[in-house]
Symmetry: C2
Subunit: 374 residues, 2 copies
C-alpha cells in the first residue's frame, strides 16, 4: 500500500493561531554555546566547516538541545489550485495539480526521490485542490507518502478579479497547517521540510510578497515553471489588479491572504507557525514556501531564527522574501521546481552537519596538536 | 583492521604524462543529448532541477554513457609537508600533517564522516610528508581508509628561499598521481573526489595560482586555516620571494611546481590528468585542489570540461583558479578545511542527480499532462 489517508478535523471555536504565536521562543543560547564548544574541540580549525557548523549551532538553539538528532523527518507538501489560472498565467493546465498529487502518492515525483535520499517521509496535504485526486497507479514499492484530506475550498477565486478567499476560509487553511504540525510532533517527527504544489501559485506568491514588502509587482514576478513573454505580461497585469485591492502594506497580514493568497500558502503559514511553536526546525524550500514564511513572520515576529532557508530559487521574488526574513539560503542550484525538492536536499546537509558533530575525533582523543597560537 | 597499505612502484622510463594528456577527449555530446532527452521526459518542467540536471548531463558526457551510475567512489587525499612553514606562515605546526594522516586512517577526521555519508572509500597518499606517520590508535569500526606510501621527498624545500622541488621530484610526484588514477580505475572506482592535507599548503597554492595567472600575490592569498594579520603579511612576503624567481607566467607549468609547488599539488595534478584520461569524473574540493587542477589544465587544455567544482572556498585565490578553469562551483558553504570535505558533499549531490534521473516517473507513465504550450 502506497499511502494512508488521514483526516484533519475542522476547527471548533476560535482559531488557535494567536496561542501558537505566543509560544514561539527565542533560540536557546546556552544550547548554542554548548554546541559551539563541542565543535571547537573537533580535529579541524575552528569554524572551518563554515555553514555546516552554523547549522549545527542553529539546530541546537531551535531545539534547546546541544546535540539534537533527527531520526524522523517529514517533507510536508501543501497542494491547492488557483482561480487566477483562468487568466492564462501558467504553462500548465490546472488539472496538473491533482495529477501531481497522485504522482506524489505513487512515488514518481522528484520529491519522492529526494525525500527517499534524505530518509524522510512525504505528507501531502490537499488543502484546496480543485478536482478529484486521481487514484495513484503503478505505485513504486516502498513509497513513504500519505495524503491528508483537508480541502477548505476547491481552489481560490481569481485574485485578478475578486478576493481569492473569504476570511473564514483563510483561517481554516491556516488552522489545517497548525493542527498538522501538532499532529506530526505527537507522532515523533523531529524536523520538517516544507513544499507545495499548485499550478498558478507563483502568481499568488508574487502578489503576497509584493503586498507584504511594498515591492513593485514586476520586480518580484518571474517565469515560474517556464512561461513565455506574453504570459509573463498577463501574470504581472493579474498581480497588479489584485494588489490594487490590497492598497498600502496592510497591518493585518491575513488581509493579504484574503485578497491575493492561496490555500496552500495559508496552510503553509499555519504549519510553519505551528512547527516553530513546538520547537521543530522548519526547512523552507523555494519561492512559495518563502512567501508563506513571510506571512507567518508577520504574524509571529519571533519566527525567522527558527527557519532554515534551503536554497535560492531562480524566481526573483524569492530574494525579496528571504531579505525580508533575514535568511541566507544554503544552496544555489537554480532549482525552480518546488515540491520541497530544495528543502529535501538541505535535509541531507543537516544530517551531514550532525554526523560531523557526533562522528569526528577530538584533538586530545586523536593526538593531533591544536593551533600553535590560540 | 582499519587500513591497508599499498605501495606505488617508482617509475621506470620517461614519465607517461604526455601520453595521458593525449588521451583526454572532449565530452561525448551524443551521450549528453540522450541524457537531456531522458530528463525532459520526467514529471517536472524542463530544466527545473537546475544544476542537478546539468550534472546528470555533464556526467553523461564525461563517461560516454547516457545514464552512468557510480557504485564505487573514492575520496583521494594527497598529503605532503612544506618547507615554507619555517617562515611561520601557518597557525599549525608541521607535524600536524602526519598526525592528521593518522587521523584519516583511524576514521576520526571530517572527511571520514563525509566520505561515509557519501558512500565513498578514503585513499590517503603520502607523497611527501616530512615525519613518520604515527600508528593510528582508537580506529573507528568500519573505517574504509587506506594509505598509499609513495613519499617522493620528506616535504618541499622552503619556497621563499630556494626552489621547492627539483624537476625529477616534480615529475615523480606527478607520476604517483597518474599511476594511482590508473590503479583505481582497474580496481573499479567510477568517480573520484580529490582532497589534500599539508600544513602550509595554502602558501604554495597561492604562489602557484599567482604564477600561472599573473595575479598579484596579495590578491590570491588568504588566511588559510585562520592566521592573524602578522602571519598573513609573512605569508604574502614569502610568496612574493618565490614568485620573483618564477618571473613572468612561464610556458612550462612544471617550472611553477619546481619553484613554488608542493608535492601534494604535483601529485594531485598528475592524478587529475590520469583520471580524466580514463574518463573518470573528477570532483575538485577547494583552493589547493583548484590550484592543482590549474596546473593540470595548463598541461592538458582539454581537461576542464571533465572537472566538477564542488564548492567555493573562503580562500580568495580559489575564485581566481576557478575563473581560469571556467568552472562554477556547486556549493558555497564557506568551507575552508580541505581534506576533500566539500568534494565529498558534492558526491551526495551527484548521487541525488542520478537518483532523480533514474527514479522519477515520466509524463506518460504517470498520466500527468505536460506543458500546455511547448
Amino acid at each position: 500500500v502506497g499511502h494512508r489517508v488521514v483526516s484533519v478535523q475542522p476547527a471548533v471555536g476560535p482559531p488557535p493561531i494567536a496561542a501558537a504565536v505566543s509560544r514561539i521562543r527565542p533560540r536557546d543560547v546556552s544550547a548554542e554555546a554548548e554546541a559551539a564548544r563541542r565543535l571547537d574541540d573537533l580535529t579541524k580549525p575552528p569554524g572551518s566547516l563554515g555553514r555546516l557548523e552554523e547549522l549545527a549551532i542553529g539546530l541546537a538553539g531551535m531545539t534547546g538541545v546541544a546535540a539534537p538528532i533527527f531520526p524522523r523527518k517529514a517533507v510536508v507538501i501543501f497542494a491547492a489550485d488557483h482561480g487566477v489560472t483562468a487568466q492564462g498565467v501558467s504553462a500548465y493546465a490546472g488539472e496538473v495539480t491533482a495529477a501531481m498529487v497522485a504522482n506524489f502518492l505513487a512515488g514518481g515525483a522528484a520529491i519522492n526521490v529526494l525525500a527517499g535520499t534524505a530518509g524522510a517521509e512525504v505528507v501531502v496535504v490537499d488543502v484546496g485542490v480543485r478536482s478529484a485526486i486521481p487514484e495513484p497507479r503503478d505505485t513504486k514499492p516502498g513509497v513513504r507518502a500519505r495524503l491528508v484530506r483537508a480541502r477548505v475550498r476547491a481552489g481560490t477565486r481569481d485574485l485578478s478579479i475578486e478576493p481569492a478567499l473569504e476570511r473564514p476560509q483563510t483561517e481554516a487553511a491556516l488552522e489545517v497547517g497548525l493542527r498538522l504540525a501538532d499532529e506530526l510532533r505527537r507522532a515523533g517527527v523531529t524536523i520538517v521540510a516544507v513544499g507545495e504544489m499548485g499550478i498558478g501559485n507563483t502568481t499568488s506568491a508574487s502578489a503576497v510578497v509584493a503586498a507584504l514588502t511594498g515591492a513593485d509587482a514586476r520586480s518580484v514576478t518571474g517565469r515560474g515553471t517556464g512561461v513565455d513573454d506574453a504570459t509573463l505580461e498577463r501574470k504581472v497585469a493579474a498581480i497588479e489588479r489584485g494588489l490594487a485591492r490590497v492598497g498600502p502594506v496592510p497591518a493585518d497580514p491575513l488581509r493579504v491572504l484574503d485578497e491575493v493568497g492561496g490555500l496552500e500558502i495559508a496552510g503553509l503559514a499555519g504549519f510553519i507557525v505551528g512547527a516553530a511553536a513546538v520547537r521543530i526546525p522548519v526547512v523552507l524550500d523555494g519561492f512559495i514556501t518563502g512567501a508563506a514564511a513571510l506571512v507567518a513572520a508577520r504574524l509571529a515576529p519571533a519566527l525567522p531564527p527558527r527557519l532554515i532557508a534551503a536554497h535560492r530559487s531562480a524566481e526573483p521574488g524569492h530574494a525579496a522574501a528571504l531579505d525580508a526574513l533575514g535568511l541566507d539560503p544554503l544552496l544555489d542550484l537554480r532549482l525552480r521546481l518546488g515540491e520541497g525538492t530544495g528543502a529535501a536536499l538541505a535535509l541531507t546537509l543537516i544530517d551531514a552537519a550532525c554526523a560531523l558533530r557526533d562522528g569526528m575525533a577530538t584533538f586530545s582523543g586523536a593526538s593531533v596538536p591544536g593551533p600553535v597560537a590560540g
